[in-house]
């Protein structure tokens, strides 16, 4: 530390003259700009701004000056040191940037290298279609109902107004569990879930029920002994066939395309009366392929309509079997095949693709369908 100079010697303080200081600054700035890298700059800092640097020494000598000179010299030295410090600082930043650029350039990596080390899996498209259907109906206030796949014959047939020996039983080739007389079958349709829903739930009932069903068909391009359906059931006061039609219109629009319309054709199911087949307008050609051999439609076979499922008003006999008063309540029900839906909605051409479990099939759909 420099204290007041007790033995004042003008020769000794000549270094505090303006010229001398300017020289020091000039030398320092030259050294700073000459520093080519951070290591040299560090030495420059030590030499020109360190404790032993000429400017530091000059600063120490200020204390020896008479009080009248101190202010002027002090200001001169302070400015000089400030200029050197600023130059060092900006050079430091410059050199750091330069170094960073070099290093980062060295660290270049081809980021188009494969980054997906473990690829995504997939859900089965039949599952995701069923979930989509459930979501459509949940949005309408429906709940999702369930039932067992090995089902009592009474639930699968009798309660659905298919008495023993009725030809409707042979419409669906049935797997019998245990023996043909056991009264237990693999459900041939999701309709038995209607019976369970009506026995287990409080009225009014609005449910959809997706599930696996079984028929004794050999696997080929259009048949499989194990497939999926979705069942819909509403039982309430004052329901009409118009309500059924409106519900199916909305459903079709959500599943295929807004603006798509449906068509009901009279048909027969023991558990509905009146009964209908449900067609949806072909969402690919919208009917433009009918009688238009120039532009055939593969999706609908140029029919303009696609058979989607069956539906109708719940047969009062079914309500009777589950103890619901048909004089007070009416119901509607519908059912469609999920495989079939996926086939024409997503262009699956071979049933076997949906049952074989080839990874490549499901992976093409990912987590949605």
């Amino acid at each position: 530390m420099s204290g007041p100079n007790t033995s004042f010697d003008p020769k000794q303080v000549a270094v505090l003259g303006a010229e001398a200081i300017a020289t020091m600054v000039a030398e320092a700035l030259a050294a700073v700009s000459a520093a080519g890298d951070l290591a040299v700059l560090k030495e420059v800092r030590l030499a020109h701004a360190g404790d032993r640097s000429p400017l530091a020494l000059a600063n120490r000598d200020i204390g020896a000056l008479p009080p009248a000179a101190k202010a002027e010299v002090g200001k001169r030295v302070g400015e000089a040191r400030g200029a050197v410090k600023a130059a060092l600082g900006s050079r430091q930043i410059e050199l750091e940037r330069a170094r960073d650029e070099f290093v980062l350039a060295e660290e270049f990596i081809d980021v188009t290298l494969p980054a997906m080390r473990v690829p995504l899996g997939a859900r089965h498209p039949l599952t995701t279609v069923m979930e989509r259907i459930c979501d459509v109906f949940i949005a309408m206030g429906y709940d999702i109902a369930e039932g067992p796949e090995a089902e009592a014959e009474w639930v699968n047939f009798d309660a659905l107004n298919v008495p023993p020996d009725h030809p409707a039983r042979t419409m669906q080739d049935t797997f019998y569990v245990g023996s043909p007389e056991s009264g237990v079958v693999l459900r041939t349709q999701t309709s038995p879930i209607q019976i369970r829903a009506m026995l287990d739930r409080q009225l009014p009932i609005y449910v959809v029920a997706p599930g696996r069903v079984y028929r004794t068909d050999e696997l080929d391009a259009t048949h499989t002994p194990v497939f999926h359906q979705v069942e819909g059931l509403a039982v309430d006061v004052g329901l009409t066939m118009g309500d059924l039609k409106g519900t199916l219109d909305h459903f079709a629009q959500e599943m295929f395309d807004p603006g798509i319309v449906t068509r009901l054709r009279p048909s027969y199911f023991p558990f509905t009366e009146p009964s209908a087949e449900l067609d949806v307008q072909c969402f690919v050609c919208r009917g433009a392929s009918i009688d238009n051999s120039a532009e055939p439609c593969r999706t609908c076979g140029s029919e303009g309509w696609i058979e989607w499922g069956g539906c109708g008003m719940v047969n009062p006999r079914v309500l009777q079997a589950v103890g619901i008063d048909p004089a007070k309540y009416r119901g509607f029900a519908f059912g469609m095949g999920i495989e079939r839906t996926l086939m024409f909605r997503n262009g699956v051409t071979d049933m076997r693709d949906m049952v074989e479990g080839d990874l490549r099939f499901s992976l093409a759909f990912g987590l949605e369908s």
Partner: protein
């Protein structure tokens, strides 16, 4: 049911501009499902002429006899042409069908003038088979009449459109031209003369003639039995060409006049008929129940064993036919039959349905009876048949005998407003009445009620709902409004439905692919899996009629299906698979017969419980099979295969996804590697197993070594999921980290040591993680060193060094007590 359009046009006046497709569209709208509209001889492109055979020269120098014919095809066909023909069933003067050069026959076969057998053949004399009219190949077609040079197409039915209709079980009446034309008449609004109510003109029987007698032993099963007798019939008489054509178009093969007539009337009116050779009968013919153990050889040459619920036709010598299903061989009409008895009867639909099902015998007759034949039609139909037989086969009419139960069609009461209320649109009384009468009902208006009597051909109309359907379908479903009901407030997905979705999404996001495998398994797969007989996964639920005898059981485990799917994928070139399935398994054995409560009222609680109690247990399982590469080799390094730990990790991931707590303990499942198998416990019970598959299982399925698997009872896991998860207290105070290593015997599991450390460390322990295992010179033989990283934190303060040290020591002490762990270097 195949309906030729020209036949329909004969019965009703269909507007002339209507094509087969137009007519089909009408029927579809009325609820008859027309599957195809086929054009007979549709493959014939070009003219077919009637030709008169003028000369035949037999060429004998070839391997087979060949004829060189001169055929006059009229001026339009170019006069007389020389044609080579290999058939021999015609003579000079016969009218034949000739295709001239340029005409294309079915199969794209174009007729050309060509040199053959030493002559220039200038056309072709056609057979039915060559024109794709039938499978008949006994020679060429000889026309009964015709003019040389005329268009042969209408004469042989080429160009005729035929509707093929899939008749639903409720519409028995549509298995006839009569029923189909009735629907068309309503649709087109044209008059309908019911051919079923025509009384055929029959000659008066001789006064002393005695017709064959008939009877019915059970009027519930056979409410009407008629037998009509004709004697002196010409067995050589042929069926007229038009009848043969219609039968062929209708899908039936012409046989002989007697058989053809019964089939023709069946197609026309819907009444199955059976013709017996009267001389082969002995005594009255009646319907009755078979003696158990009796047999009958039916027309299809099958000997059938009969039971007490087989309704049969009998004479004094025994059983001569299966009622309404198929006749017996012994009483069949043959080429020498001159005396005929025609049976026309009404059999109860369920009786016939049961027989047809048990004997696997679906005939034209049984298909009609099980759907319901017009209850009163039999005498009309047999009169029609008798008239045709006499017209074309001669003979004398002897008369008819009949037995019949009283017929009460019953009355259905329906509110006039019911069709409108069900449809959701206005339908007035006049419309309701008019449409019901159009389908044949008798209607009486009684205030706001209708008293409706269904016609005898509509046994399906029993309830008001059936009448509603008739009205609404004829008003037209296309006129229904489209309205949306306001559903009750819903609950969204149930807990288990939502969690299953979460699990599926999570597994897929972690690289697994969902599959849906068939649930059929067999003993050989279960043996290959080494599942012991007493194991719950050894399927006990068996199908009575499996598709394959190799796989008669329903799965009790998801693994066989997953293993087979893994093998298929590996076989198709996949280097690694990660498959999962969420599906039901079938466990337990159902003993006894499930009850069948009445359908007239809600089943009682006991009945419902008993019914459900007889179903096999069907829990939802999750199965995963992991085989081969988990991560392929890449710029990051070598490939990495699936192993036991991936299977265990999947179990832990799933448990975390749904918030259930599981514990892992060393297991010993026989399907798995004895040393690399984990039992998954939840709520104190084992709910699954995970690990590396047993090498013999891997080998049996040809999977990569170290293939691994997991199977969980998902219902049990989901049952333990919390309904609600409480928020944690997140402490902002600093963490104190302590590492420690303990030496334990190899037999002590990491889970046990971790549990002991956790218990001993107390509430301040935030987490514990094993970060190293060491065995070697530094630790005694049969021991290993386990290094754990522990993190301590208090909710409300910074922990002091002393507190942390005490907690650490507590952990060490507890591990020492519980597991014999000794702190290493401490």
């Amino acid at each position: 049911m195949r309906a030729p359009v020209s036949w329909l046009r004969e019965l009703i006046d269909i507007p002339v501009d209507q094509t087969g497709r137009d007519i089909a569209a009408r029927l579809i709208n009325a609820g008859l499902e027309v599957e195809t509209v086929e054009t007979i001889g549709g493959g014939v492109n070009g003219a077919l002429y009637v030709g008169k055979v003028l000369e035949i020269e037999e060429l004998t120098e070839f391997k087979k006899p060949i004829r060189w014919c001169q055929v006059d095809v009229g001026a339009t066909g170019g006069g007389v042409r020389g044609i080579i023909c290999g058939a021999r069933n015609f003579t000079v003067g016969d009218m034949v069908v000739v295709a001239l050069p340029g005409t294309v026959l079915p199969g794209g076969f174009e007729i050309a003038s060509r040199e053959t057998y030493g002559h220039l053949s200038d056309g072709m004399i056609c057979s039915e088979r060559e024109l794709a009219l039938s499978e008949e190949q006994d020679g060429i077609m000889v026309l009964p009449a015709g003019t040389a040079g005329a268009d042969a197409r209408p004469l042989i039915g080429v160009g005729e459109e035929v509707l093929d209709i899939a008749v639903t079980p409720d519409r028995g009446y549509a298995l006839s031209l009569r029923g189909i034309s009735r629907e068309l008449a309503i649709s087109y609004g044209v008059p309908f003369q019911d051919p079923g109510l025509n009384v055929a003109d029959l000659p008066a029987p001789a006064p002393d003639a005695v017709p064959a007698q008939c009877g019915s032993d059970d009027f519930e099963a056979c409410a009407l039995f008629t037998l009509r007798t004709i004697v002196g019939f010409d067995p050589k008489a042929a069926s007229p060409q038009w009848m043969k054509q219609r039968l062929t178009a209708g899908g039936m093969r012409p046989v002989s006049l007697a058989v053809d007539v019964t089939n023709y009337v069946m197609l026309e009116l819907g009444q199955p008929l059976h013709a017996f050779d009267l001389d082969k009968l002995n005594g009255p013919v009646r319907a009755g129940w078979a003696e158990p153990g009796s047999t009958l050889e039916t027309l299809d040459h099958v000997t059938r064993k009969l039971g007490s619920d087989d309704l049969v036709i009998l004479d004094d010598d025994g059983i001569i036919g299966l009622a309404g299903t198929m006749g017996g061989l012994d009483s069949e009409i043959d080429d020498d039959t001159i005396n005929i008895a025609i049976e026309a009867a009404h059999f109860a639909p369920r009786v016939i349905a049961r027989m047809a099902r048990r004997h696997r015998l679906s005939s034209e007759a049984s298909r009609r009876f099980e759907r319901g034949v017009d209850r009163t039609l039999a005498p009309y139909a047999s009169a029609r048949a008798a008239a045709l037989l006499i017209e074309f086969g001669g003979g004398h009419y002897v008369g008819m005998t009949a037995v019949e139960a009283p017929y009460d069609p019953g009355v259905i009461s329906m509110r006039v407003s019911e069709p409108a209320a069900v449809a959701g649109m206005p339908i007035d009384e006049e419309t309701v009445t008019r449409l019901l009468e159009a389908v044949g009902c008798g209607v009486l208006i009684n205030g706001n009620q209708l008293e409706v009597q269904a016609p005898p051909w509509r046994a399906d109309l029993t309830d008001p709902a059936d009448l509603v359907e008739e009205v609404v379908r004829l008003v037209g479903y296309e006129n229904l409004p489209s309205t949306l009901p306001i559903a009750a407030a819903g609950h969204g997905l149930s807990n288990s439905q939502r969690l299953k979705r979460r699990i599926g999404m999570t597994l897929a996001a972690r690289g697994a692919v969902e599959v849906l495998t068939y649930p059929f398994v067999g003993d050989s797969e279960l043996d290959d899996m080494q599942i012991p007989v007493a194991d719950i996964r050894r399927s006990k639920v068996r199908l009575a009629n499996p598709l394959s005898d190799e796989q008669p059981y329903l799965r009790a485990s998801l693994l066989p299906g997953l293993l087979s799917t893994a093998r298929r994928n590996i076989g198709r070139g996949s280097s690694g698979v990660s498959l999962f399935e969420l599906g039901s398994v079938f466990q337990g054995e159902s003993v006894g017969v499930a009850p069948r409560p009445s359908v007239l009222e809600r089943p009682g609680a006991d009945e419902w419980a008993a019914l459900n109690g007889l179903l096999p247990s069907q829990p939802m399982h999750l199965g995963i099979v992991l085989a081969g590469e988990r991560e392929a080799a890449g710029w990051w390094g070598p490939s990495d295969d699936h192993g036991w730990h991936d299977a265990v990790q999947m179990a832990q991931v799933i448990a975390e996804v749904i918030g259930s707590e599981i514990t892992i303990e060393q297991g010993g499942d026989l399907v798995f590697h004895p040393g690399r198998c984990a039992t998954i416990n939840c709520a104190g019970k084992p709910i699954g197993v995970a690990g590396e598959l047993h090498p013999r299982v891997i080998q049996a399925w040809s999977l990569p070594t170290r293939s691994s698997a997991l199977e969980l009872d998902l219902d049990a896991l989901i049952a333990s999921a919390p309904a609600l998860r409480p928020a944690p207290a997140v402490s902002a105070h600093p963490v104190a980290k302590e590492d420690l290593a303990v030496v334990v015997a190899d037999s002590v599991t990491v889970a046990a040591v971790t549990a002991a450390l956790r218990a001993g460390a107390g509430d301040l322990l935030e987490s514990i993680r094993l970060f190293d295992i060491y065995s070697g010179p530094q630790v005694p033989d049969g021991h290993c060193s386990l290094a754990f990283a522990l993190r301590f934190r208090a909710p409300d303060r910074t922990l002091s060094a002393a507190e942390t040290a005490a907690a650490r020591q507590g952990a060490i002490n507890r591990a020492g007590l519980d597991c014999g762990a000794v702190i290493r270097g401490g």
